[in-house]
């Protein structure tokens, strides 16, 4: 149960920079997700912390100790791989015992702890099986058991759920959360799935193009994305150039927003995002709302809601509006965009 601290860690492969000046701290027992699209450097970051790669620059501390030049086998970490990486020629018991044997734990204790951890992951009685005889979810649990049985200081998970089907993934998410709570191990979880990250993390690190864009708890990542990329990644449907609103000379802008637009022209927060479900339809002008008229272009019925695409004058792309399933729209509509729901975004 240790902290993880990165101080401007950079990793270059030849001319390619995979991680650029990454800094963050994970406190004891925290569940931290590293979220980003494929190729953003999140897996490299995990491999740096595991010790499979060594940083070109910067410092990595586990429990306050610099480990940058320590090989993985001296770091006391647990790693769960995307492919599980169970040893195919060893039984489940022997797979789990592998880490304990390396720590010279005596036989009786190995047996006892192996049985205990199998109970924790819900695979009591599976010890004599071989990896080939396990389902994906079971193999996943064994991989997790193998990584936590020797009580590592930190646990690193590299997209562990991506190989599972959707239902199993939901189930394993809760399992992961429960096991992490029970063991209290500081956990770093790499994923490209924002809903996965939001669901189980105490804290989320969003990465793009080798750099960290935003760090925060799930609520702030979801509710207050700071950059264009983060907003896009957490599913903010409508992102447009704020100056388009000014240029259009909308009279319905309140003083506060107009001020903010002007003030931001120097800081670079020129982009506004708003979620489709925060846009309302209103025939009469509302206080503190940007009123925009548009034409319905298309509709998708998703069961619990309807998603409309509406052409407007404020953005070249149609605006997405998420309405209740019962709400039917057609032809010309008047939209009300609440000023409070505007997300002011930085371009990265």
């Amino acid at each position: 149960m240790s902290t993880i601290e990165l101080k401007s860690v950079t990793k270059r492969f030849g001319t390619v920079t995979a991680v650029e000046g990454a800094s963050f701290t994970a406190t004891e027992g925290e569940f931290v997700s590293i979220l980003g699209p494929s190729g953003c450097g999140k897996s490299t970051l995990l491999r740096l912390i595991a010790g499979f790669e060594s940083p070109s620059d910067g410092e990595i501390l586990i429990g306050g100790n610099a480990v940058s030049h320590l090989p993985p086998w001296k770091r006391n970490i647990g790693v769960v791989f995307q492919s599980y990486a169970l040893f195919p020629y060893l039984t489940v018991d022997a797979n789990i015992a592998f880490g304990l044997e390396r720590r010279n734990v005596d036989k009786a204790e190995i047996e006892q702890r192996t049985n205990e951890v199998l109970k924790v992951v819900g695979l009591d009685g599976f010890g004599k099986r071989f990896p080939r005889q396990l389902s994906g979810g079971q193999a996943q649990r064994v991989a997790l058991a193998r990584a936590i049985v020797y009580e590592p200081e930190i646990l690193l998970l590299d997209e562990p759920l991506s190989a599972l089907d959707a239902r199993l993934r939901d189930e394993m998410r809760f399992e992961l959360q429960r096991i992490q709570n029970e063991t209290g191990v500081t956990t770093l979880f790499v994923t490209h799935d924002q809903s996965e990250a939001l669901a189980i993390s105490d804290s989320i690190i969003v990465m793009n193009k080798a750099s960290i864009c935003q760090v925060g708890n799930p609520e702030s990542i979801w509710g207050a994305p700071e950059t264009h990329f983060v907003a896009d990644f957490v599913g903010v449907e409508n992102i447009f150039d704020a100056t388009a609103i000014l240029g259009q000379g909308e009279k319905k802008l309140s003083g506060q927003i107009a001020e903010k637009l002007q003030g931001n022209s120097s800081t670079g927060d020129q982009t506004i995002g708003i979620r489709g479900r925060d846009i309302r339809v209103s025939s009469k002008p509302l206080e503190n709302h940007l009123m925009v008229s548009g034409t319905v272009r298309g509709m998708n019925y998703l069961g619990h809601e309807r998603v409309y695409e509406i052409d407007t004058s404020i953005s070249p792309k149609p605006i997405t509006l998420v309405a209740e399933a019962g709400q039917m729209l057609d032809g010309k509509v008047d939209l009300a965009l609440s000023h409070d729901k505007f997300l002011w975004l930085r371009e990265d």
Binding site: F52, I77, F87, R102, R146
Partner: protein
């Protein structure tokens, strides 16, 4: 039903050339060999006389044991050499390991005869080794390094080492690299990881590699002929002298059948071991 028969027919017609070729080139000669091996001109009907004569000949029995010794030794040495090579290939970067592999495979591209002569130059009485040792004053008379079992083993090891490496590399390329990383993350240092993870993962390659090297070592002809000579015959060179020096085709066929039996015995032993191995994978 008619359609089924038609497609069966088509399959037979399409594979007819291959089947014909196999029958002419492999099956008929094998039957011929089997018949010849159990025949003698002066005895009517099938006989074990050829084999009895071989067992009675001290020379032939020596050649049998020598063949077995040379093949086993060559296999063991290539295995012992291939693993450190594999370790280097796994640890080195992609460019270095490609170069290492190219250097390893290169000897395959040189004719076996040329290679045997190369060893002649190195091991011969006035070869590189003897010359250097005598000029250093370490030996008075040249060491007998050639035309014996030692030279055959050296030559065959050189000949067959690449096959063993390739068999192991081919299997290891299919092994998830995360297995070794998992082992490192669990606290095993690179040596322990090699012993506990890389080695067991390589067993299928080891099995096919030993089968390949053993059977090639046993049936090698040019290398034992040029490096072993008449003083250290193997079954293959013995077979050659029966067939072309003594023109005793029946006894030559008997030697060939013994070679086939040895290869098959080794094959079944290998299958047996690999079945045990597969069972432990939970298959």
């Amino acid at each position: 039903m008619a359609k089924q028969r038609n497609s069966d027919m088509a399959a037979w017609i399409l594979s007819a050339p291959v089947i014909t070729l196999l029958v002419i080139l492999a099956i008929l000669p094998s039957i011929q060999l089997l018949i010849t091996g159990f025949q003698r001109a002066d005895i009517a009907g099938p006989t074990l006389n050829n084999f009895e004569q071989l067992v009675d000949s001290k020379f032939a029995v020596q050649a049998f044991w020598r063949t077995l010794r040379v093949s086993v030794l060559t296999t063991v040495i290539t295995v012992l050499g291939a693993y450190p090579m594999l370790y280097c290939l796994r640890r080195a970067g992609p460019r270095i390991s490609a170069l290492l592999l190219a250097i390893t495979i290169f000897p395959i591209m040189v004719s076996t005869v040329v290679r045997a002569f190369g060893w002649n130059v190195i091991l011969g009485p006035s070869g590189v080794i003897n010359k250097s040792l005598s000029s250093l004053g370490l030996i008075d008379a040249p060491l007998k390094l050639i035309f014996n079992e030692f030279a055959i083993v050296v030559g065959e090891t050189h000949l067959l080492f690449p096959y063993m490496v390739l068999a192991l590399v081919a299997v290891m390329q299919k092994v998830d690299p995360a297995l070794e990383e998992a082992s490192l993350s669990l606290g095993a240092n690179p040596l322990v990881t090699f012993m506990k993870v890389t080695l067991p993962s390589s067993y299928p390659g080891l099995l096919s590699g030993t089968l390949l090297v053993f059977s090639l070592a046993m049936t090698a002809f040019a290398t034992p002929l040029l490096l072993g000579g008449a003083r250290a015959p193997l079954l293959t060179t013995l077979l050659y002298s029966y067939a072309y020096t003594l023109y005793d085709w029946n006894r030559a066929a008997a030697v060939a059948l013994i070679l086939v039996a040895m290869a098959m015995a080794f094959y079944f032993l290998q299958r047996f071991i690999s079945n045990i191995q597969m069972r432990s994978y939970g298959k």
